[in-house]
């Protein structure tokens, strides 16, 4: 089973929920941090990284000796990532989406591919959790290819928990697609509600069952609950604001370590999700 934890708005507690859920279950769990722009889950799970690889995406390399400057590569490229200017052909690797079109279209076989570094993928273990995350290279614009590479580490024989990035565009979709359940985390504020609606829109497009965790549930207003009821989204857990929780979070401590009574609640959350997935 794959559970993807998402939110729309940033800073609502995705990582808190995902890490505490994983730690509460404790064995036969795989954790994929797909928030590759700002991966934080390792700060709470403390895996000992034993494996690291550089993730790349293919970009064109032109053999100038073979190139006749026919311009077909520039014609097919939708991303303006390769152009013929005067007597040279210029690839712009940062703009390349790695579709392979230029290589395919080149009549002279002058284009081959090399890798552009997307970032790194690290893997390690901690307390029975198999942990994988991607770290986007600073300056790299495209996170979805790296997210897909992190997800390629998904094991079929175990529970996989995905920590998704905030928002609702392509990186979020790349982190939710193919999941069995989306656990949405929000806060009961106008910002939280507005972005939750967008996240639910994305979940509906993908047609995946979802449930809601309301974090800092006693700060804010009733808008989120009213909306959840209207939309038929079950509220699976509420985490009231507690300054001790916020302070523990700031130090990289888990809720279930600070207040062990939460472990049972997260186990209950997991069993509710299992029932809903069936």
């Amino acid at each position: 089973m794959i559970i993807s934890v998402a939110s729309g708005k940033g800073g609502t507690g995705k990582t808190t929920v995902a890490t505490n859920l994983a730690m509460s279950i404790g064995s036969n769990v795989q954790f994929l941090d797909c928030d590759v722009e700002e991966p934080n889950a390792h700060l709470f799970i403390h895996p000992e990284f034993k494996y690291s690889e550089t993730a790349t995406t293919p970009v064109p390399e032109v053999d100038e000796k073979k190139c006749t400057l026919c311009g077909k590569c520039g014609e097919i490229c939708q991303f303006k990532a390769i152009v013929v200017i005067g007597e040279t052909v210029l690839p712009f690797h940062d703009l390349c989406h790695s579709c392979g079109g230029c290589m395919e279209v080149c009549p002279e076989d002058a284009i081959s591919e090399k890798g552009r570094e997307l970032g790194i993928i690290q893997k390690g273990d901690s307390n029975g959790i198999e942990f994988v995350h991607g770290v986007l290279r600073v300056g790299e614009a495209m996170s979805p290819p790296l997210i897909r590479k992190v997800r390629a580490h998904t094991r079929k024989d175990t529970l996989t928990i995905i920590d998704a990035p905030p928002g609702t565009s392509c990186p979020v979709i790349a982190s939710m697609k193919g999941a069995d359940f989306i656990l949405l985390v929000t806060e009961p504020t106008p910002f939280g509600l507005h972005d939750l609606k967008l996240a639910v829109g994305a979940v509906r497009i993908l047609d995946i069952p979802c449930g809601l965790v309301i974090n800092r549930s006693d700060i804010g207003d009733d808008g989120v609950k009213a909306y959840a009821e209207e939309e038929g989204i079950p509220v699976l857990m509420e985490i009231p604001f507690d300054r001790r929780v916020a302070e523990a979070y700031s130090k990289g401590e888990l809720l279930v370590q600070q207040m062990p009574e939460w472990k049972e609640k997260f186990m209950e959350l997991y069993s509710q999700i299992s029932d809903m997935v069936g």
């Binding site: 609502t12 722009e37 939708q78 392979g100 565009s169 990186p171 497009i205």
Partner: protein
């Protein structure tokens, strides 16, 4: 003309609330919401839309059944596995690269332009605002951000306004890169947590990479004083100007619920005093003529 872009790395540190507070304090400005993916600034700014335009960007492949002979070349060439066995393109997976369109021997693949969002020019009680709404599950957020900022600049020129305040997205990827290129300065709003610090360092590296001068302030500083100090030290090492600290204060949420800036909710609070001091510093560093509202 000066443009201040407010970013954070980590989400939920208070970018948008602070941005709205600055819009209140600034004498004259144009507001840009560059968080097109999950924009919230309008919930406080309450814009009255004057002009709305659709954002067209990129194409999506559509296979026309009547012309398709199911030869399978498109499926072979597509690197996104966006075409299923029934030769239907999944628009979510389609990258819009056009490879299938180009190579289809039957010319059976249409390639219509996407309408992937909307953008608006609005009036607010603080001045004009440019904002946008990217369609759910859409790509090209970077392009929409670039468009919003370009329109913001044109609007500022048109109306003789010298300052643009831009609310940026979280992260360090495509929309953030599009938000900071060519900005006069960045203000990184962070929080005193391990995550806040980790993400602030990455976004500071990005600022460095694109050579945009950066400033920083720590929101909710009293949640962890030790971490606040560590962040300020790390920021200083990275060449960021440390502007000040904002206390943890439910005022932000209360004001947001009423659709107000913190100054409109309780301008006399200690938090407002702290934000005012930070704004003064911003004005000094960016050489903005500072005429503060009382």
């Amino acid at each position: 003309m000066k443009e201040l872009v407010i970013i954070s790395g980590k989400g939920g540190t208070g970018k948008t609330s602070l941005m709205a507070a600055f819009a209140y304090l600034a004498d004259k400005m144009v507001a840009c919401d560059a968080d097109v993916d999950a924009s919230d600034l309008h919930l406080i700014m309450d814009p009255e839309v004057k002009k709305s335009s659709s954002f067209e960007s990129g194409h999506t492949a559509v296979i026309v059944k009547d012309r398709c002979t199911e030869c399978g070349l498109c499926r072979e060439l597509c690197r996104w596995n966006a075409i299923n066995e029934e030769f239907v393109v999944d628009p979510i997976e389609c990258e819009g690269c056009g490879v299938c369109v180009y190579f289809c021997p039957e010319k059976a693949v249409d390639f219509p332009l996407n309408v992937s969002g909307e953008w608006y020019i609005s009036d607010t009680r603080f001045g004009p605002m440019v904002h946008a709404r990217l369609g759910i599950a859409e790509e090209n957020s970077g392009k929409l951000v670039t468009l919003v900022r370009k329109e913001g600049k044109e609007l500022a020129e048109e109306r003789g306004l010298n300052l643009i305040l831009t609310d940026g997205p979280p992260g360090v990827g495509c929309p953030v890169i599009a938000s900071i290129g060519g900005a006069s300065a960045l203000l990184i709003v962070t929080e005193p947590t391990l995550s806040g610090k980790h993400d602030m360092i990455r976004v500071a590296q990005l600022a460095n990479h694109f050579r945009v001068p950066g400033m920083i302030c720590v929101n909710k500083f009293d949640l962890n004083i030790e971490e606040t100090r560590a962040i300020e030290e790390a920021a200083d090492e990275k060449g960021l100007k440390v502007l000040g600290r904002i206390p943890f204060d439910p005022l932000f949420t209360r004001a947001m619920i009423q659709g107000k800036t913190i100054f409109e909710y309780d301008g006399e609070s200690e938090t407002c005093r702290a934000v005012r001091e930070i704004w003064k510093e911003v004005c000094k560093i960016m050489e903005i003529k500072e005429i503060q509202k009382s």
